[in-house]
Subunit: 521 residues, 2 copies
């Protein structure tokens, strides 16, 4: 048909079904709101783009299964989704059972089951697993999502990494160019220092540089002040062609972004710009160390530097965010920084095992989950300085998005009890079955989970994960087509021994009334 | 190792983990209760049988995917499990959302979604789909189960049937012998008349025979009486070697079974037995029509006949059950009727579209689901005599178990509305999205779902579907390993605006108290 060469002479025709006037034309160039597309999802699915996305997803997953199951001897095991709550599982949907007061929980991942399978001698497990997380309204999150879930016995980090590299290389669509392996890696500390984030987009440079030493005896007041504090640092980032492309308004936006989001000062410096936009402090800095700055930042004429000062991770995080803001701004002017046809994979390693628990000073929580094994070099710190212990967790990053994460797990029951009980102060009774299982000769094991929706979204270049899911929920968690969730007659709740606790707070009532289709458009 | 030929000389050894004394030995011949196996499932999984079952399951599903996806162009589409309740969906688990009074429901199957995908132009869909059904405590049922879910556009019954035959042939384990296609088929009416069930085990004969005409002028009182009523029939079944193998106690058991379960008389007749077990009526019958009976029943010396009289379907159902009872009894004595190595597939066709609604005289309900298309020859009866309409539903039966079911669907919105609204008197607003979708040029379509757990159970010869599921629930719906479902602190229910309605009925409280592990052992 695309050639126009085929003509059909119809002898007889039978009308199989008629079609009402469509609410929108099924053409990709016809713009429609996402709410309308989701309401008539069965029509939206007819679009070229949705057909392409779903068919590519199916094929890529099939290749992954082929790789894991046929080439590498993995066993596809289905694990339950009607499970029991996990400690701290406040984001787990609950399902009332027919026994009064007892609930199942929808698991956030098959984590416990995959570890139990290792204890059970199914030493290479995978599953394309449905997972559930109730995060309320968050853009680009789905209450149910899919992960490629993998676990192996007698494996180390390198083993998992090369398996996943091979998996992606094997399943990558041929028209998206070959995937080169092995993927580069950075430690968490390196990623933070150079990119200000644990998921750097390595398709472009603009790395963060530490200038603390260079500015040790500067006259510039705010740098002096920062360096005078015990944890003070000076950080800078070179925005390529920043002076060439960015407007005064853009630069104002950058400064405001830093003030609003980080409550922190950022100083644009034009070391060799024709534009005379340097502030008095920036001028002073250029006079003081102009050429040295140019050298250490590898800056070219036309570039802009962004300087900030403060505690290491705060300063890095700020510049990390500004790096992406600047990329957006530059690309809007026509510069090409992040080639959409390029796929830059990166492993990020050596995460901290614990983080300070938000809102509970002095307490710790798992940076990922409580089954993550500590870094072998740091085990001795577990009892004395747990906050300094690095983990055997690894993240897989693609073009600045986290597409996977995993770890070597704790296989020693004693150590697992210590982490849960002494460090995290969790209720171990909820996990007694897992602790017991480790006691029965659990092999060393580890695994990973790849976020399938996000991965396919990046491969297809779709603007949202909703474009690679056949029937997604809106960002408020609604199915705009069927209008789920919906009211249920009280008699249908009776067998489950629950009743609705209608809120007395009028705000909460308001948010639930009205047609849910419109507030989301 | 099985040869005993390999010896290992150890130079160094490292203890990776230690193992406590196991609660039972991991040997297939060591008998343990199912409750103990489920409590320590991670140990039970180490048994040869569980390893075999789960690995075979994984491989067979992989072959099915290969067949559907790679050989036949099907698209694997994941459909949501957080959905909205369906009309009459009293067996659907509910999931409270963060909006007061609103609930998601866990779907019993992706039925609506697969039909919507056909409207959406994904004309060949499959999914290994997780489904949910809350049937309380029923043996050999799981609250979550898996089906191979298939839907196609522009297809008829023959098309679906030959696809599924090819699918099973292709994925069948090579050590289980080849699968012969096409599978034989029976109409629902034929299956009922010959086997007294819609899922006959066709590995053995002992078919039901109608003897109404032969006994039209009998002197035997209870046959006379039955044939005197408008719907009266006389039915008989020949139990091969019944007179040879069965004891008086067995025969008493058979009569009691008929009386207890069907409140109906069954008459054992020994037309040419050396044993003198005939009752006076049986004697009369043998004298009246001995040789004719032998001929029409194809009975041999040593066989036993079972006679019953009454309304056609009742009489057939009784003999259908007794057929299986007798098979059990005969096999217990050493006869081989149902070869476990034989796989007898059978299609059952032309089911009724509607059945009388239980407990609502005069009303109808769908025999399968309301989207099933009527048989083309019976469409004209829809408005006048809907109870006589046959459907385009088909069941796949293997060795007497239903392993699949599907249908050609209604693709005409008008007809679908008529069925829902006028015939079934359902609340159509719950399905307005589907009705609307049919209006937009839905193609003719149909599909099937194969019950994967049951199928794998039959292939492996496992005694229960729990033996082909890695982490099954007990028949009371409990996870005996983790003790799910479990109590949840009230504060974790708050975001979902529900509270537990504790029963005031002491019976209900009793059933939920105590350790759930023991009542199930």
């Amino acid at each position: 048909m695309p050639t126009g060469d085929i003509e059909i002479k119809v002898k007889t025709a039978q009308l199989l079904n008629s079609c009402k006037k469509l609410p929108f034309e099924i053409k990709d160039f016809v713009k429609k709101t996402e709410a309308l597309r989701l309401q008539y999802r069965y029509l939206d699915l007819r679009s070229f783009q949705m057909q392409y996305n779903l068919r590519l997803r199916s094929q890529m997953v099939m290749k992954m299964r082929d790789y894991l199951c046929n080439l590498h001897g993995f066993v596809d095991v289905e694990t339950p989704t009607l499970f029991k709550r996990t400690p701290g599982g406040a984001k787990e949907f609950v399902i009332p059972s027919r026994e009064p007061g007892k609930f199942y929980s929808l698991p956030q991942s098959p984590q416990q089951f995959k570890q139990l399978l290792m204890v059970g001698g199914l030493d290479r497990y995978f599953q394309v697993a449905r997972c559930y997380r109730d995060e309320g309204s968050r853009p680009d999150r789905q209450p149910e999502f899919t992960q490629i879930d993998i676990e192996m016995s007698f494996v180390d980090q390198t083993g998992i990494r090369s398996l996943v590299e091979g998996l992606l290389q094997y399943s990558w669509p041929s028209d998206k160019g070959p995937v080169e392996v092995p993927f580069p890696s950075l430690t968490f500390a390196e990623a933070l220092a150079s990119y200000g984030t644990d998921k750097p987009d390595t398709r472009f440079g603009m790395k963060i540089v530490d200038l603390s030493d260079a500015f040790r005896d500067t006259q510039a007041g705010f740098l002096q002040e920062a360096l005078g504090t015990p944890q003070g640092t000076v950080k800078a980032m070179c925005v390529s062609d920043g002076a060439k492309y960015l407007t005064r308004k853009d630069i104002e936006h950058i400064r405001k972004f830093a003030a609003d989001h980080f409550n922190q000062e950022v100083l644009p410096v034009f070391p060799k710009a024709s534009r005379n936009w340097n502030s008095p402090v920036a001028k002073l800095i250029v006079e003081e160390r102009g050429s040295g700055l140019m050298r250490s930042m590898q800056a070219q004429e036309g570039d802009m530097l962004l300087l900030t000062a403060g505690e290491h991770s705060r300063a890095c995080s700020l510049l990390g965010k500004l790096r992406l803001e600047c990329a957006d701004l530059l690309e809007a002017k026509g510069a090409l920084l992040r080639d959409p046809a390029r796929f830059s994979f990166l492993w990020v390693l050596d995460f901290p095992l614990f983080l300070p628990k938000e809102g509970h000073p002095g307490e710790l929580e798992s940076a990922h989950h409580p089954f993550t094994a500590p870094h072998p070099s740091d085990v001795h710190l577990l009892s004395t300085e747990p906050e300094k212990v690095r983990s055997q967790h690894y993240d897989l990053v693609l073009n600045g998005s986290e597409v996977g994460g995993g770890s070597i797990r704790i296989h020693d029951a004693q150590l697992q009890r210590h982490v849960l009980d002494t460090v995290l102060k969790e209720d171990v009774t909820l996990l007694s079955h897992l602790l017991q299982a480790l006691d029965y000769g659990a092999p060393p094991h580890g695994g990973i989970a790849l976020g399938l929706d996000r991965l396919i979204c990046l491969v297809t270049g779709a603007p949202s994960i909703r474009d690679v899911i056949a029937f997604p929920k809106s960002f408020r968690g609604h199915d705009l087509m069927s209008n789920a969730p919906d009211f249920i007659p009280p008699e249908e709740l009776k067998p489950y021994h629950i009743q609705v606790a209608w809120p007395t707070d009028p705000e909460a009532e308001k948010s639930s009334s009205g047609d849910p289709r419109h507030p989301e458009s």
